[in-house]
C-alpha cells in the first residue's frame, strides 16, 4: 500500500514537472514586437501622431464648420449639417490622449533619465499644443489626472480655462529646456525643426493662449518672440507614398473617401474672390487653396497646391503669430498703431512673396474706418491663413464669428465638439449630461 502511494507520487510529480517544463519552453512574449523602444524612436512616433491629429479627422470637421470645406457625400452630408454624435470623436480623442499625449510623456520620462533637455522641451511643446487644441475644442477636459491609469482610472475633467492657464508654465519650462542647449533633436524628422524654431513656436503658442485669455499685453510680448518667418513655421512633413506619408487632406479626398468633401459652396473661396480691391488681389491664393469655380470649388490637391500629397501641413505659423500681435496691439491700445499695422503688413508682405502674381499692398491706417474694422481685417486674414487647421474653428468661436461664416443649417454654429463615446462609457468623471454641440465653451463666450 505504502509502496503504491510512493510510486504514485513519484510518477505524478514526474508527469507534472514534465507538463510545466513543456509549456515553459515557449515564450510568453511575442517575438515580433518589442516591449520598449529608444527615446529617439518614440520622438518620431509622438510627432507622427501629433501631425496626424492636428491635420486629420478633427481638422476636416472644423473646416466644414468654418467655411473652408463642404461635406457633399455620404456621412459627410450630415456632418456638414452639424448632425454629429459622440461616436464621431472616438478615434480622434484617443489620438489626442493615448497616442500623442502619452508618447509625449514617455519621451519626457526618457529625456529626464538621459538628461536630454532639448528633447524634453520638444515633448513639452507637443503636449502644450495638443492639450491646448483639445481644450479649445471640447472645453473641460481631463488633464491634471490624465495619463496616469494607476492613480486615476477616471481622470477628472479640469475646467477649460485652468487647462489653458497651466500650459503657459509648461511652455516656459520647454523654452528653458531648449535654451539650455543640452541634448539632441534626434527622431525629429516628421516636424524637422531646429531648436530655434521650437523656441519660437513655444512663444507663438504662448501668444495664442494669452489671446484666448484676453491677456493682450502678454499675447503681444510673446508674439514678438514667436515664429519670425514662414521659413520658421512648424509644419508636418509629407511625401507621395500611399499609406505612409501623404498629406492627409490629399489622402482623404483622393484615395480613401473620394467625393466626400469638396469646397463646393464653401465661404472661404467666395470671400477670397470678394476681397479684391485696389490693394488686394487674392486670385493666386485662391488657386493655391482651391480649384474649380463658383458653386463647384474643390481642394487644390495638385503638387503645387495647399493640399498636395507632399505639401507640408502648417501647425504653428508666422502668419498666425504676426496676426496675434496685430490684434493684441489694437486691443491693447484700442487703436490702429504703427506696430499693429506693421504686424498686419508683415503678413501681407510675406504673402506677396508667397504669391508673386497676387497683390498685397501695405495698408495704412486710413484704409480702415476704425479700430474695429482693422481688427476685423486682422481676424479675417487670420481665418484665411488658418485654412485646414483646427485653429480656424477656434478663431471663429473666439471672435464670435467676426468673419461671418454662414451657418450651414439652422440658426447657430457649433460651439464645441462632443465628448468621445468611449470616454463617456469608461470614464465616470465625464460630465453627465454631456454638453451639446451648440453650448459655448467657457473661454470662447
Amino acid at each position: 500500500m505504502k509502496k503504491f502511494r510512493y510510486k504514485s507520487i513519484v510518477i505524478l510529480a514526474f508527469l507534472l514537472a514534465g507538463c510545466q517544463a513543456f509549456v515553459e519552453n515557449t515564450s510568453e512574449f511575442d517575438p515580433t514586437r518589442p516591449v520598449d523602444a529608444d527615446m529617439k524612436l518614440v520622438v518620431t512616433g509622438m510627432e507622427v501622431e501629433f501631425i496626424g491629429t492636428m491635420e486629420g479627422d478633427l481638422a476636416r470637421t472644423a473646416g466644414m464648420w468654418s467655411g473652408y470645406f463642404t461635406g457633399v457625400d455620404r456621412q459627410y452630408i450630415p456632418l456638414n449639417n452639424y448632425v454629429s454624435t459622440a461616436v464621431d470623436y472616438v478615434t480622434a480623442w484617443n489620438n489626442v490622449y493615448s497616442f500623442t499625449l502619452k508618447q509625449s510623456r514617455i519621451v519626457q520620462d526618457k529625456a529626464n533619465v538621459l538628461g536630454d533637455r532639448i528633447t524634453l522641451g520638444i515633448a513639452q511643446i507637443i503636449e502644450a499644443n495638443i492639450i491646448g487644441t483639445a481644450a479649445a475644442l471640447w472645453g473641460d477636459i481631463p488633464y491634471s489626472q490624465a495619463i496616469n491609469l494607476t492613480q486615476f482610472p477616471n481622470p477628472a475633467y479640469d475646467p477649460q480655462a485652468q487647462v489653458i492657464a497651466s500650459l503657459l508654465p509648461l511652455l516656459d519650462a520647454a523654452i528653458a529646456n531648449l535654451n539650455s542647449g543640452v541634448g539632441t533633436t534626434g527622431g525629429n524628422l516628421p516636424l524637422n525643426a531646429t531648436t530655434t524654431q521650437y523656441i519660437a513656436a513655444a512663444h507663438s503658442l504662448k501668444a495664442r493662449y494669452y489671446l484666448y485669455q484676453k491677456d493682450y499685453a502678454n499675447a503681444l510680448a510673446e508674439a514678438n518672440l514667436g515664429v519670425s518667418s514662414n521659413a520658421n513655421n512648424i509644419t508636418g512633413k509629407h511625401g507621395t507614398t500611399n499609406d505612409q506619408d501623404r498629406n492627409i487632406y490629399y489622402d482623404f479626398t483622393q484615395r480613401q473617401r473620394v467625393g466626400y468633401m469638396t469646397a463646393k459652396s464653401a465661404f472661404l473661396p467666395q470671400r477670397l474672390t470678394a476681397r479684391a480691391s485696389a490693394k488686394t488681389d487674392e486670385t493666386a491664393r485662391l488657386k493655391f487653396f482651391y480649384t474649380g469655380g463658383v458653386g463647384a470649388y474643390d481642394l487644390n490637391v495638385s503638387a503645387t497646391g495647399f493640399f498636395g500629397s507632399a505639401s507640408s501641413f502648417p501647425i504653428v505659423t508666422y502668419y498666425e503669430t504676426r496676426l496675434i500681435a496685430a490684434e493684441a496691439d489694437a486691443k491693447l491700445n484700442n487703436g490702429i498703431t504703427v506696430n499693429g499695422l506693421a504686424a498686419l503688413n508683415a503678413v501681407r508682405a510675406a504673402l506677396a512673396v508667397q504669391f508673386p502674381t497676387g497683390k498685397y499692398l501695405a495698408y495704412v491706417a486710413a484704409d480702415f474706418a476704425d479700430v474695429n474694422a482693422f481688427i476685423k481685417e486682422v481676424q479675417e486674414e487670420k481665418w484665411i491663413d488658418l485654412i485646414g487647421q483646427i485653429e480656424g474653428f477656434n478663431e471663429i468661436r473666439r471672435t464670435n464669428n467676426s468673419v461671418g461664416v454662414p451657418i450651414n443649417v439652422g440658426t447657430q454654429l457649433p460651439q464645441r465638439y462632443i465628448y468621445s463615446q468611449n470616454e463617456i462609457n469608461s470614464n465616470t468623471s465625464t460630465p453627465n449630461p454631456i454638453p451639446d454641440l451648440f453650448t459655448k465653451t467657457a473661454i470662447f463666450q
Partner: protein, 1137 residues
C-alpha cells in the same frame, strides 16, 4: 493538488487490486457474427450472477473457468444483442451474435475518442451520421451539419464557395475570445481557424475583403463516418481549455473487417446553385439628382472630380424612348472625349441634363431601358463532386482509401470557384492479442478564387447595388479613355460614376471589372497525419499512445489592378502565406475492474501535450511600375511602396488527466474526470497550472423501478457538472511597442516607417496583463432520455446552465488614461438553455417506414459583468456594431437611435423632422428566441425521401445594405411619387428645411431646385408624412440625410430576422435486389436528388437572414453588401461494388 493525488492513488490502488474466485472446470468456445460468420473479438463473456468473466480474443475465442454444474453465460458486446446461454454439461460453447440495430445507433464517442453506450452517459451528446451530412447537398462539411442537432447553431456567412461558417454550441462562452468549438479528427485536434490575413502590415478587417474559407471544409464529407457533438463542459473537460466551446468529434470511415473482400464505392454529384434572395431595387428613376438625369460624363462638373453616385434622377417613364443623344462632336462645348473598348467600339457620353428647371430634365437620356445588376454579376453556379473509395479488411486489420475531387463554380460569373482534392488513407493492424496499431492520413489541396465583398469600394455588391437602374454594368468595363484633345489613357474603368472612363478613380468598381480583373486566390495544402498504438498486456488493461500533426499553408494572392476604385487605384498586390502547425500527443492507460458483482469500474489516466504554431510572412506592394498586365511580383513598385510583414505565435498546453467511471447493477452510472493543465500563455509570475473537475451521473430508473413495458420502454435521468478553464490567447501578458501609425476611421494613415519620418515606435494603447488567469466556465446540466413503444420513439431533454467567470477581454479604458483598453479577466457571462431532441419511427412495417426527427433549442445569454465598461465593440462599424453590453445578450446591435422624449416620442427639429440622439444605445438583439429543426424520412422499398425544415424565431439583423441603397435612391422602398399643389409646395418642407418650391436654393441644401409642373404644382420623388410636428415631405434630402444609411441613425434599419426554411429535401432510390446483384455483380446502385434551401420564409429582404458581414467572428447580425446566399439542387449517383 491534494485532490489530484488522492484520486490518482485510488486509481493506482485499483490497478493492483485483484479479485479471487473458486473454479473447477473450464469452458471454451468461439463467438462469431451471425451475418457473415466472422470472428468477433472483444465480446464480454460473464458467468451470470458472478463477476467471473472474460472477453474473446482476436479470433473470437474465449476460455472461462465455471462451476462444476449448470451456470449460464452472458455474451454481451456493444452493437449486438446480449445473449444468455445455459452451459449445461458442455465444455465448448460456440455462439453467434446478432447485431442490435437499435443499440448500434446509440454507441457514442467520448471526448477521448473511445466508444461507449449512450445509455450509460450522464451528459448529452448529439450524433450525426456522416451520410446525413453528405446527402444534405452542401458542398462543404460544416453547413451540412446545420439543423441536425439541438443546441448547435451553424450559420453560413455567405454563399461563396467554401466560405466559413459560424458554429456556436450552447451559447457564447467568451466575449472576444475564440467561440468556435474544438474539432477533433479521429482523436487528434485539428485547426479550424478562419484567418482574414494581413494587408499592408496590418490585420485585414472583418468588414471588408473576402470571406475566407473555413479550414474545417478542407475535410471531405464523403470520408466521414460520424460526427459526435459534445456540448457540455462535463463532456469536454478532457480537452481542457480548448473545449470550452464544445467539441465536434469527427470519426472517419474505416474498412470493415469482413472476410478479405475489397469494397469499391464510387459516388458522383452534380449541383446547380442559384441566388437565394435579391435586394429589391427601383427601376422608375434614373441616375441623377433632384429629378434631373445626370451622370457627370459631360462638362459641367458640378460634383467636383467624382462621378455622381445617386439615382434620384428623372422619371424613366417620362423619357421619350429611343436612342440616347450622345456627345460625339469634338466641337460640341460638352464634348469630353470618348471611351474605346478593346474591340474598338467607341462609347460617347450621354448628354447630361443642365440641372435647370427650365431645361429638359432627362438631358440626352432617351432610353427607357433599365438593367438588373444581378444579371451582370450572377449565373447558375455548379459543382461536380467525385469520390472513390476502396476499403476492406480481415480479422488482423483493415484499411480505407478515399479519393475525392470537388470542383465548384460559384454563382458569380468569373473567378469565384473552389477546387478541392482529398486523399484519405487509414489502416489498422492487429499484430497479436497485445498490440494494435492504426494510422491515419489526410491530404487536401484546395485552390480557390474569391470575391471581395462588404464595406469596400472594390466589393462586388457595393458598386453593384449602388449602380443606377439605367446604367448597364455589363456593356463595357475596361478600355482606353481618349480625352478632348484626343490623348488616350489605357486601363481605364467604366462604371456608373465614370461612364466613359474619364475619371482615373471610378468611385466604385464596376462588378464586372471586379470579377474579371481582381484576384483573390488561395492555394491551400493541408496535411493531417496521426498514429495510434494500443497495447493490452493483460486483458483488463489497455495502454494507448496517440500522436498527430495537422499542418496547413494557405498561399494567398490579392491583386487590384491599376484603375481600381479607391485607395488601391494605382494597383496593389499582397502575397502572404498564413500557416499553422499543430502537434498533439496523448498517452493514456485504461483499465476495467469488477469491484464486486454489481459494481464495475473503468479507470483511465493519461497525459496530453499540444503545441500550436501559427505564422504568416508576406508583403504588400502598391503603386505599380508595370501597370498593364502587372506581374505577380512584390518588386513591381518603387522601393518605398513595398511593405513586408510577418507574424508569429506559438503556444503550448500540457496536461494530465484522470477519469473513473463506475457502473452499479448496470443501472447507476457515475463518471468522474479531473484535468490538471499548464499553458504557455500565462505570465510567468503566476502559476500556469490549473485543475478542473467534472462529474456526471446517470440512473436508468425504468430498470430500477421495474416500470419498463411496451409503451414506456426505457427511462434514464442524468445530471452533469463540469468546470473548464479557457486559457488566454498568446502574448497578452506585456504592453508592447508598435510602429507608430496615425490612423482614423476614414482610412487615412501616417506611418512613421516612411522614409520621410525615419521610423518610429509608440507604446500600444492596449495595456498588457501579466496576471491573467483562465476564464472559468462552470456548467450544470440535468436531463433525461426516454424511449417509448418498444424503443421505437426516443426523447431527450436537457436543461443546462453555465456561468463563465473572469472572461478575458480588452476592458475599455478611458482614452484619457493613456490606454484605450486593457486585457483582463473582467467580465462574466451567463447562459442557460433547454435542448430537446426527438426521433423515432412513426410507422414501421416491412415495406414502409416513416421516421420523424426533430430538435428544439432555446438559449438565453446575458453579460452579467463587464468590468465597469458599459459596452464593448465586437465587430462592425463605428456607426452600427455588434457589442457586448452589460445585462444584455452578447452581440447586441448597437448604434444611434432617434432622439426621443421620456414617452418614446421623437424630439423634432424646427422643421418637424426627427433628430439623432447624440449617444449610442442598444438597438437590437441578433440572438434568436429559439431554433428548431424538424425532419421526416420516409422509405418505401428502395425509395427514400427526407425532408428537413428549420425555423429560427426572433432575433434582429441590421439591414445595412438596404440603408445605403436608401441613401443612393436605388432601393425599391424609395420608389414614391407625390404631387404637391403650388400652395403645398410653398409651405411643406423637406429634411433640409427648405420648402419644396424653395429647395435647392439655400446653403446646405442637398440638391437643386425641383422642376415645377406647368400649373405650378410639383411632382417629386417622395411622399408626405407626419412625425408629430405637422406634415413634411420625405424626399432625397431625407434619404441622403438622417433617413439613409449614411446618417448617424441606424435604429430604423434594425429588422426582425425570423425565418423558416426548407433546409433540405432529398429523394433517393437504391437498386440492390438480389437479381440486380447477380446480374451486375454490384452490391448496389443509389440515385439521389437533393434540394437545399429551396424555400425560405422571412420578413427580411435582400439576403438570407442567416448572413453575417463579419463571418465567423464574435459579432453577428449585420448585412452590409454581403455576397448573397444560394439555394442548390444536387444530383448524385453512388455505385458500390
Amino acid at each position: 493538488m491534494r485532490k489530484i493525488l488522492q484520486l490518482n492513488i485510488v486509481v493506482m490502488l485499483m490497478l493492483f487490486t485483484s479479485v479471487a474466485w473458486s473454479q473447477t472446470r473450464t469452458v471454451s468456445g468461439k463467438v462469431t457474427a451471425v451475418d457473415d460468420g466472422s470472428a468477433t473479438p472483444g465480446v464480454n463473456v460473464v458467468l451470470k450472477g458472478t463477476t467471473n468473466g472474460t472477453t474473446t480474443d482476436g479470433d473470437g475465442n474465449f476460455k472461462l473457468a465455471v462451476p462444476d454444474e449448470g451456470g449460464t453465460l452472458v455474451f454481451s458486446f456493444i452493437g449486438f444483442s446480449t445473449q444468455e446461454v445455459d452451459i449445461g454439461a458442455r465444455t465448448v460453447v460456440d455462439v453467434q451474435m446478432n447485431p442490435d440495430i437499435k443499440q448500434l445507433s446509440e454507441v457514442v464517442v467520448t471526448a477521448l475518442g473511445l466508444e461507449v453506450s449512450k445509455d450509460q452517459l450522464g451528459y448529452t451528446t448529439s450524433k450525426v451520421g456522416g451520410n446525413a451530412v453528405k446527402s444534405s447537398g452542401e458542398a462543404t462539411l460544416i453547413n451540412g451539419l446545420s439543423g441536425k442537432a439541438a443546441g448547435v447553431l451553424i450559420t453560413r456567412t455567405s454563399g461563396d464557395p467554401g466560405a466559413g461558417s459560424y458554429i456556436q454550441i450552447r451559447g457564447q462562452s467568451s466575449i472576444t475570445g475564440n467561440l468556435q468549438p474544438l474539432i477533433v479528427l479521429d482523436g487528434v485536434p485539428i485547426s479550424n481557424t478562419n484567418d482574414p490575413g494581413m494587408v499592408n502590415g496590418n490585420a485585414a478587417s472583418a468588414t471588408t475583403g473576402v470571406v475566407q474559407q473555413s479550414r474545417l471544409n478542407d475535410l471531405n464529407a464523403s470520408d466521414i463516418e460520424s460526427y459526435e457533438i459534445l456540448k457540455g463542459a462535463s463532456a469536454s473537460a478532457l480537452w481542457g481549455s480548448r473545449a470550452a466551446n464544445g467539441v465536434i468529434m469527427i470519426t472517419t470511415k474505416k474498412g470493415s473487417s469482413e472476410k478479405g473482400k475489397i469494397n469499391i464505392s464510387y459516388s458522383g454529384s452534380y449541383s446547380m446553385d442559384q441566388i437565394l434572395f435579391k435586394h429589391p431595387r427601383q427601376n422608375s428613376y434614373g441616375q441623377g439628382i433632384s429629378g434631373y438625369y445626370y451622370a457627370n460624363s459631360t462638362g459641367f462638373n458640378r460634383f467636383g472630380s467624382t462621378g455622381l453616385p445617386y439615382s434620384f434622377g428623372d422619371k424613366i417613364a417620362n423619357r421619350p424612348g429611343g436612342a440616347d443623344q450622345v456627345v460625339s462632336d469634338p466641337l460640341d462645348p460638352n464634348y469630353q472625349g470618348y471611351f474605346q473598348t478593346p474591340d474598338g467600339t467607341k462609347i460617347y457620353p450621354i448628354l447630361d441634363s443642365q440641372i435647370d428647371p427650365n431645361q429638359p430634365v432627362n438631358g440626352g437620356k432617351n432610353s427607357k431601358t433599365t438593367y438588373d445588376p444581378y444579371d451582370a454579376i450572377f449565373q447558375t453556379g455548379h459543382y461536380f463532386d467525385h469520390n472513390l473509395s476502396l476499403s476492406g479488411g480481415d480479422k488482423t486489420g483493415n484499411f480505407y482509401l478515399g479519393i475525392g475531387n470537388l470542383s465548384q463554380q460559384g454563382i458569380v460569373k468569373n473567378n469565384s470557384d473552389y477546387q478541392r482534392t482529398t486523399i484519405k488513407f487509414n489502416n489498422e493492424k492487429v499484430f497479436n492479442k497485445v498490440v494494435k496499431i492504426g494510422t491515419n492520413f489526410n491530404y487536401s489541396r484546395i485552390t480557390s478564387n474569391r470575391i471581395q465583398q462588404g464595406s469596400n469600394v472594390n466589393g462586388l455588391f457595393l458598386g453593384g447595388m449602388r449602380s443606377a437602374p439605367d446604367f448597364n454594368n455589363a456593356a463595357a468595363y475596361q478600355g482606353t479613355y481618349y480625352n478632348k484633345a484626343g490623348l488616350g489613357t489605357v486601363n481605364r474603368q467604366v462604371s456608373y460614376r465614370s461612364p466613359i472612363g474619364r475619371l482615373a478613380d471610378p468611385g466604385y468598381d464596376n462588378p464586372v471589372w471586379i470579377y474579371n480583373n481582381n484576384r483573390d486566390r488561395s492555394e491551400v495544402d493541408r496535411f493531417t497525419g496521426s498514429f495510434k498504438v494500443d497495447v493490452s498486456p493483460v486483458d483488463w488493461l489497455t495502454i494507448t499512445a496517440r500522436a498527430g500533426v495537422d499542418h496547413f499553408s494557405d498561399k494567398r494572392t490579392t491583386l487590384f489592378p491599376v484603375g481600381s476604385a479607391g485607395a488601391v487605384n494605382s494597383g496593389q498586390l499582397t502575397l502572404q502565406t498564413p500557416r499553422e502547425t499543430q502537434f498533439n500527443a496523448d498517452i493514456f492507460a485504461r483499465a476495467n475492474f469488477d469491484l464486486s458483482t454489481d459494481l464495475k469500474m473503468n479507470a483511465l489516466i493519461g497525459m496530453n501535450f499540444n503545441q500550436r504554431t501559427a505564422d504568416n510572412v508576406g508583403g504588400t506592394t502598391q503603386t505599380f511600375t508595370v501597370t498593364t498586365n502587372p506581374p505577380t511580383n512584390l518588386n513591381n513598385s518603387t522601393a518605398t511602396n513595398r511593405v513586408p510583414f510577418n507574424r508569429y505565435s506559438q503556444q503550448r498546453v500540457a496536461a494530465s488527466y484522470l477519469t473513473a467511471d463506475f457502473a452499479y447493477k448496470n443501472q447507476f452510472f457515475v463518471g468522474l474526470t479531473g484535468r490538471y493543465e499548464a499553458a504557455s500563455t500565462y505570465g510567468r509570475s503566476t502559476s500556469p497550472n490549473y485543475f478542473y473537475p467534472s462529474a456526471n451521473g446517470a440512473w436508468q430508473f425504468s430498470k430500477t423501478l421495474g416500470i419498463e413495458n411496451k409503451t414506456f420502454s426505457f427511462g434514464k435521468l442524468r445530471v452533469a457538472y463540469g468546470q473548464v478553464a479557457i486559457q488566454p490567447g498568446p502574448y497578452n501578458t506585456a504592453t508592447y511597442y508598435n510602429t507608430s501609425t496615425y490612423g482614423e476611421s476614414w482610412g487615412s494613415v501616417l506611418n512613421s516607417s516612411a522614409t520621410t519620418y525615419g521610423g518610429g515606435y509608440e507604446q500600444s494603447s492596449t495595456l498588457g496583463n501579466a496576471n491573467l488567469k483562465p476564464e472559468i466556465k462552470t456548467e450544470i446540466e440535468f436531463g433525461g432520455d426516454f424511449k417509448f413503444l418498444d424503443n421505437r420513439l426516443n426523447l431527450g431533454v436537457t436543461y443546462f446552465t453555465n456561468d463563465v467567470k473572469g472572461v478575458i477581454l480588452p476592458v475599455a479604458l478611458a482614452g484619457s488614461t493613456g490606454f484605450t483598453n486593457k486585457t483582463a479577466n473582467a467580465a462574466s457571462l451567463h447562459n442557460e438553455g433547454i435542448e430537446v431532441e426527438i426521433g423515432g419511427d412513426i410507422v414501421r412495417s416491412d415495406a414502409f417506414t416513416w421516421n420523424l426527427y426533430g430538435n428544439w433549442t432555446r438559449l438565453r445569454n446575458k453579460v452579467t459583468d463587464l468590468a465597469g465598461t458599459s459596452s464593448l465593440f465586437l465587430a462592425g462599424f463605428t456607426g452600427t456594431s455588434s457589442r457586448a453590453v452589460l445585462n444584455q445578450p452578447v452581440g447586441v446591435l448597437w448604434g444611434v437611435d432617434f432622439l426621443r422624449d421620456a414617452a418614446g416620442k421623437y424630439v423634432l427639429d424646427a422643421n418637424g423632422f426627427p433628430k439623432a440622439n447624440s449617444q449610442e444605445s442598444v438597438l437590437g438583439n441578433p440572438n434568436p428566441d429559439w431554433r428548431a429543426g424538424l425532419g421526416s424520412a420516409f422509405s418505401y422499398k428502395g425509395f427514400s425521401l427526407n425532408i428537413l425544415f428549420e425555423h429560427s424565431q426572433g432575433g434582429d439583423i441590421w439591414a445595412g445594405t438596404k440603408s445605403i441603397m436608401y441613401n443612393f435612391g436605388t432601393h425599391a422602398d424609395t420608389d414614391h411619387e407625390v404631387t404637391l399643389t403650388a400652395a403645398e409646395a410653398a409651405t411643406l418642407k423637406n429634411y433640409n428645411g427648405a420648402t419644396i418650391a424653395q429647395y435647392g436654393t439655400l446653403t446646405g441644401n442637398f440638391g437643386f431646385p425641383y422642376h415645377p409642373n406647368t400649373d405650378g404644382s410639383y411632382t417629386v420623388r417622395g411622399y408626405t408624412t407626419d412625425f408629430g410636428g405637422g406634415k413634411v415631405v420625405i424626399d432625397e434630402s431625407w434619404y441622403t440625410g438622417l433617413g439613409g444609411g449614411f446618417g448617424p441613425v441606424s435604429s430604423h434599419f434594425i429588422q426582425k430576422a425570423t425565418w423558416t426554411r426548407l433546409r433540405e429535401v432529398s429523394l433517393s432510390y437504391s437498386l440492390r435486389s438480389d437479381g440486380f446483384r447477380k446480374a451486375t455483380k454490384l452490391t448496389s446502385v443509389d440515385f439521389q436528388v437533393t434540394g437545399r434551401n429551396l424555400f425560405v420564409w422571412t420578413g427580411f429582404q435582400g439576403n438570407d437572414p442567416e448572413t453575417n458581414l463579419t463571418g465567423p467572428t464574435n459579432g453577428r447580425g449585420m448585412d452590409y453588401f454581403n455576397n448573397p446566399a444560394t439555394k442548390s439542387y444536387v444530383f448524385t449517383i453512388k455505385i458500390n461494388y
